[in-house]
């Protein structure tokens, strides 16, 4: 994956609040899981926006590349982003 110099705290999809969006940088997961996520639109370099959340806070829905995809929080925590507005 690509290396990004980031001065602030490393952030993941989990840190995104409603109304914010983030630029996906890397997926820190085994290759087959990362590929599966990329097929669903989670490609490094794309903008991800948080959508609805299941009651209880997990799993969470993310809007990416025109579709809405739900993933568990532990997966979202392995996806690094830089925050855009």
């Amino acid at each position: 994956m690509q290396l990004v110099v980031n001065n602030s705290q490393p952030q993941t999809l989990l840190d995104l609040r409603a109304g914010e969006s983030g630029l996906l940088e890397a997926i820190d997961l085994p290759e087959d899981h990362a590929t599966r996520l990329m097929e669903m639109g989670f490609l490094p370099g794309t903008i991800v926006t948080p959508g609805c959340t299941a009651p209880g806070g997990c799993p969470r829905v993310f809007r990416v590349g025109g579709s809405e995809v739900a993933i568990r929080c532990e997966t979202a925590a392995c996806m690094r982003i830089t925050r855009t507005i």
Partner: protein, 637 residues
């Protein structure tokens, strides 16, 4: 329709049935692209289900009759895939069929690649590997009506020349734009898109990032304008996934499904039961007394009938699942249920099968198909029969009424008998989650649970789609009823009717093979508090659990069939079974896999006898141990 009669046909048989000139066309596309809707549009009822050899992946084969011609084309509906990289069974099967490596199925002559036009940037990813196979391919952009309604658009002519393949814009749900598809199937080239050199070369390295980059360039050149976000979907989600409203709607839906499969199905099931009994009696009255008549009426008709009674309940349940799935709510329900299911090592999608299992394990196991992860799916299939299905109710009702004194606990509405029933439900549920946790932490362990669920936009389910789905599931059930269940019914009849008496008539049940087996297993079941008569009941109830009631009635010599009063059987039982033995028997029925339909369906869904055998042994073992424990505890009390 002539091709709908046979049991699961192997692709080999189908390939041989294909005439030398008949062409095979494969339908390929990502999940939710509308593959099945298009397939149903093109073939209607002229389709059948089959399994590929060695895998549990199901596919449909159908005949499409070209309009205005006498020719027929065979269509194969392949599983929904996001790529052709062979990581899952679905992807491997799709790849093997398209490259001609699937045993028994010829390489398709051409491909219909169906993509969701409202989600083109992602769905185009699949176009690269499919087009590079070199088969004549029609790229079908589905849901174009929805795309335009949401102010999206694209230039199909440019897209066609960029891809070097003809492009058709359709709405499969409404049946619009299908002329181009028929033209392609008929072999006539579509005007404006002859086979030509594609302008954007396909990515050499077919990994996701390069395919994505390629798809981006193609989409841009074809002036693809992505649709506005689906407004109604957002609005509905703010209700259905609301922190408080969401769970309330969820509970209401669950209650409605539950209510319908118990209450609404009952009159239909009674009607089926009456029809089977009446038709059996009618046929019986036209046959001379003979062993053959007994086999036909008491063995086959009654045995298969005992299973057919569940058909209305199964269809009603699939109607509900169909509405939930086609409307898009099922994905939301799975999202809500995921957190709870994850605690037992299962995932959100396992929730519908487990709920369905309260009605009947058969549709539950068939509906586990929605779970893509094979380990999660197997675990769900394995634990589903622990849920208290409706066939256990007659057994519980008989034993509770006979042995559990009714004392009020909470006023008139809740007494000891209701508590006992509730306890049995809880027992099954606890066994299911215990087993799920056990499986998921041992043989079906998946290191890191990956749960990815696409939230499709909400759509109105179509009557056509629901109807075909019910027809399809009914055929699957009837086929298993027609084969395995028929066989077991005949075996059980033989056990109960042989050896014949000296005059050739049927033996007393105690002298039959079943009776002998009952007596020979008596030492084994004595520690559970059962005698040989109950042992016979355990054997015959392999057909279906509620059959034990009828068997016991026969054994205790209650003649007169329908005129027999339930009290008589209860009194007779009280003579032979202690209260501790009755609790033990109920616990046995809560756990043991006494159901040939379930075994037949698990075999079909898992592709081998290995899983049903393991399930039968495990549940039988658990039943034995727990019944013994229950017997000891109640005796000691």
């Amino acid at each position: 329709m002539s091709d709908c009669h046979s049991a699961d046909e192997s692709p080999i048989a189908i390939a041989n049935a294909l005439g030398p000139k008949q062409s095979l066309v494969a339908i390929v596309g990502p999940p939710n692209a509308g593959k099945t809707t298009l397939f149903n549009r093109l073939t209607g009822l002229r389709q059948k289900v089959a399994n590929f050899p060695g895998v549990t992946v199901e596919h449909h084969l159908g005949q499409a009759k070209l309009p205005g011609e006498d020719r027929e084309i065979t269509l194969v509906d392949l599983p929904g895939v996001y790529s052709l990289s062979p990581r899952s069974d679905d992807e491997r099967v799709t790849r093997d069929v398209l490259t001609g490596k699937m045993a028994g199925l010829p390489r398709p002559n051409s491909v219909l690649l169906i993509l969701d036009s409202t989600n083109l940037s992602r769905h185009l990813l699949l176009a690269a590997p499919v087009l590079s196979l070199g088969l004549p391919t029609l790229v079908i952009l589905n849901m174009v009506d929805d795309l335009r309604k949401r102010h999206g658009d694209l230039d199909a002519a440019i897209l066609a020349s960029e891809l070097g393949a003809p492009v058709a814009m359709i709405s499969a749900a409404k049946g619009e734009g299908l002329e181009k598809v028929w033209q392609f199937l008929a072999g006539t080239t579509i005007v404006g898109a002859p086979r030509q050199v594609r302008r954007v070369e396909l990515p050499v390295l077919q990994d996701v990032p390069s395919c994505h980059k390629w798809a981006g360039i193609v989409g841009q050149r074809a002036d693809y304008r992505a649709p506005a976000p689906p407004l109604w979907t957002r609005r509905l989600d703010s209700v259905f996934l609301h922190p408080i409203g969401g769970p309330l709607v969820f509970l209401a839906v669950v209650a409605a499904v539950f209510q319908s499969i118990f209450k609404w199905a009952q009159p239909l099931m009674d009607a089926v039961e009456k029809v089977i009994a009446a038709s059996g009696a009618w046929i019986g009255s036209h046959l001379p007394e003979s062993a053959f008549k007994s086999l036909l009426i008491d063995g086959i008709w009654t045995g298969v009938g005992a299973v057919l009674v569940f058909l209305p309940q199964i269809l009603l349940l699939f109607l509900f699942i169909g509405i939930l799935e086609d409307s898009g709510y099922l994905a939301r329900a799975a999202l809500i249920a995921d957190r709870t299911m994850a605690r037992f090592g299962l995932q959100g999608k396992a929730f519908i099968p487990l709920l369905s299992a309260y009605a009947c394990a058969v549709p539950a196991i068939m509906s586990a198909r929605t779970i893509e992860n094979p380990r999660d799916r197997l675990a769900t299939i394995f634990v589903a029969p622990f849920m208290t299905c409706s066939a256990r109710l007659p057994v519980y009702a008989l034993l509770i009424a006979a042995f559990i004194p009714d004392h009020e606990i909470l006023g008139r509405f809740f007494g000891t008998q209701a508590l006992m029933l509730l306890g049995l439900y809880a027992l099954g549920f606890l066994a299911a989650i215990f087993t799920a946790k056990l499986l998921k932490s041992t043989i079906l362990k998946s290191n890191r649970v990956m749960f990815i669920l696409e939230m499709p936009p909400y759509r109105w389910p179509t009557l056509r789609g629901l109807g075909l789905r019910l027809y399809d599931r009914a055929m699957v059930f009837l086929r298993s009823a027609g084969t395995v269940i028929l066989m077991v019914a005949v075996c059980l009849w033989v056990l109960a009717n042989f050896p014949r008496k000296a005059d050739g008539s049927a033996p007393e049940i105690g002298d039959s093979v079943a009776g002998m087996i009952g007596k020979s297993i008596e030492p084994a079941i004595k520690p559970l508090g059962f005698n040989w008569k109950i042992g016979i009941g355990l054997i015959t109830s392999l057909a279906a659990r509620e059959v034990v009631v009828g068997t016991l009635a026969t054994i205790y010599g209650i003649e007169g069939g329908n005129d027999a009063k339930p009290e008589t059987l209860q009194t007779a039982l009280k003579r032979d079974l202690t209260p501790a033995g009755s609790v033990s028997l109920m616990v046995f029925f809560a756990f043991a896999l006494q159901c040939m339909s379930t075994l037949a369906v698990v075999r079909r869904e898992t592709g081998s006898w290995k899983w049903p055998a393991a399930q039968f042994a495990y549940m039988g073992f658990l039943a034995y141990v727990c019944s013994w424990a229950a017997y000891r505890i109640v005796q000691w009390l």
